[in-house]
Symmetry: C2
């Protein structure tokens, strides 16, 4: 196979091939991290095997082109795919289908641009799919079926919904300038703002001041100005979310208000999608999957943002069936063994889900697998 740009990424392919096993790649690319999994092409069955066979998992950093630029995003994606293939003992000649689900894919032009360079990497007979990462997250909660609503809240946030008859809608996901206030970036930026306001006399004193300054090893709030200018990357700012949660848990009113406002923002995104798609039916009580992913929702702290968002949504849409996949796959050397990858969501606090749960990269692979099997 011809080597293209970043040829060295594919150097491992000079090694012996792995005996003709056909594989599928699923990639979940976000602003904070990118995960690629490699699974074998299995035959269709209902239900799917549990756990799903996953041959390998590889992880890397940001692959949102809006955040790091086109070249860096492409290199990250290409490298993490190569890593997953290498770990699985396969190479590109074994690949039958690839699904990239990447944040920052908002328009057909984004999709086409990525498809173009993906086509340079894989030969013409490989099926290629490019979507927004929200799609993979939904598929991860529904085992490849596109129905329901997904809420992602990590560094950024977006709500995406799909109906069984193929309609879709989204809310938020517009980036920090355009007011994604429930996101990790939004929460942390509000906390930093609260520190500045307390310092210059525009707002109440808050525990956030000492906790954020000590976390960042700064001595005065006015040093935050320089700190944000040095490197305004969203992920760097969003990394302060745990500090906000700690302050809220310790009773700080300012931190509590920021988290409560964020809960309402996140719930509002979901409600807007559910309403536009009538996902809950005419009586408002129909059941639909509500997949929730991302660091802000998975923090698993006493002040549990994800749980509060679910409560807020269930008040209006009691038919929502929350599903929260854990970032764990069945075969992963880099995670502790003995941990069930599909923990149930909040035990019995919320309605039990009838869906198996996998991580978004597996959701992406399932989308590719579904399309590939249907086309074969």
């Amino acid at each position: 196979m011809k080597r293209y740009r970043n040829g060295e990424i594919w150097d491992f392919e000079t090694a012996e091939e792995s005996g003709g096993r056909e594989v599928i790649l699923g990639l979940d690319g976000g602003t904070t991290s990118t995960v690629c999994i490699c699974m074998p092409v299995i035959s269709m069955s209902d239900p799917l095997p549990d756990p799903l066979p996953v041959l390998a998992r590889a992880a890397a950093g940001c692959s949102n082109h809006n955040s790091v630029g086109e070249d860096a995003a492409r290199e990250t994606i290409e490298k993490v795919m190569a890593d997953a293939l290498l770990k699985s003992g396969s190479n590109r000649s074994a690949v039958r289908a690839v699904c990239l689900a990447v944040s920052g894919v908002n328009h057909p032009t984004d999709q086409q641009r990525i498809l173009n360079w993906l086509r340079d990497i894989f030969p013409g007979n490989v099926r290629l799919y490019v979507h927004n990462d929200a799609l993979a997250a939904l598929a991860s909660g529904t085992m490849g079926k596109l129905h329901g609503c997904v809420l992602i809240a990590g560094t950024g946030t977006i709500a995406y919904g799909f109906t069984e008859d193929g309609r879709d809608a989204r809310a938020a996901g517009a980036g920090p300038i355009l007011g994604d206030w429930g996101s990790g970036y939004g929460i942390a930026a509000q906390a930093l703002t609260a520190v500045i306001r307390a310092y210059d006399g525009r707002g109440p004193d808050t525990m956030l001041t000492s906790n954020i300054l000590s976390t960042l090893e700064l001595s005065s709030p006015d040093e935050l100005i320089g700190w944000t200018y040095v490197d305004p990357s969203w992920a760097r700012i969003a990394a302060l979310v745990p500090v906000v949660v700690s302050c809220a848990e310790a009773g700080d009113e300012v931190a509590n208000k920021i988290l409560q406002d964020s809960v309402e923002e996140l719930a509002l995104s979901v409600k807007a999608v559910v309403q536009r798609l009538s996902l809950s039916g005419e009586d408002g009580k129909h059941s639909f999957p509500l997949v929730m992913v991302g660091g802000v929702l998975e923090a698993n702290r006493r002040w549990d943002i994800g749980r509060e968002v679910v409560k807020c949504i269930l008040r209006d849409y009691p038919g929502a069936v929350p599903i929260r996949p854990k970032p764990l796959g069945p075969i992963q050397c880099d995670f502790p063994t003995g941990v069930s990858p599909w923990d149930s969501f909040y035990g019995t606090d919320c309605r039990a889900s009838s869906f198996s749960r996998v991580e978004p990269a597996v959701g992406a692979a399932l989308l590719a697998w579904n399309s590939f099997m249907n086309a074969r």
Copy 2:
């Protein structure tokens, strides 16, 4: 005189010199524009001559190093100083003092860095002063005296105050990430957010949608996401403020709420400074100058943000004497003649001011002139 970096900027100095007249440079550098004026060294008098003798005025773009980087900021500043000297028929050998008042100067380290390269441009006997641009704006309203409070609201916003005994305080001015919501950037970002929220079902419909889309020549709100990512410069976003004002004037509730919130934010910055410095005395009624500058406050529209901010401040501090300098100098080839440069502020709506008014670059020159005369 030796030529330094960007030597070509000073090429005009090879021309004949202008006969030994001593001059002072005052520079007001902001995120949107930079203005340098050249005035002769005049003898001290009380009152100062009105109008002040200004030999030349030159303008350029952004000189905030946080916004365009150190090199571009330096080049802009150096070029606009050279332009002012060239227009005045002087050159560097005539300069006795320079005051640069530049936004983004927040720390002694910022000040020292600029002083270092400024020293490369001017010989050792020239007095050099570097301040935050708020200082020049205040001096422009008080004819060189540092007393009172200044509110700047252009692309960014900051409130700065000084007492007669030399204490100072500031509020806001922390940049877009840290919540300068009353700024031009803040107003426009909230308007863009409102468009996205209306589009995806999270907020009420607003006239802002059609007006902003047609201004930007876009066809759908989701294209705003790409638009903000292409070039996230604050000034580009702040340029949408007039659209927000137009929508508010036409009765749009969303736009009106954004402007009203911004008025309260801007007034709050001033109140925080006035309170910390006790500028209004123990009875809260003492008189103090309140200098107001920047595009957001000078828009001079029916929905007049500056007037509303003043009203809001006067409710708490009736002693505030609002002063709003016009961006006009007495000797300017690039402005229409016959226009009085020191328009009174809002006619009789507010208290008359006892101060002459000049533009911030002249304020910077007055600061340099004061220090130079006192030291001579």
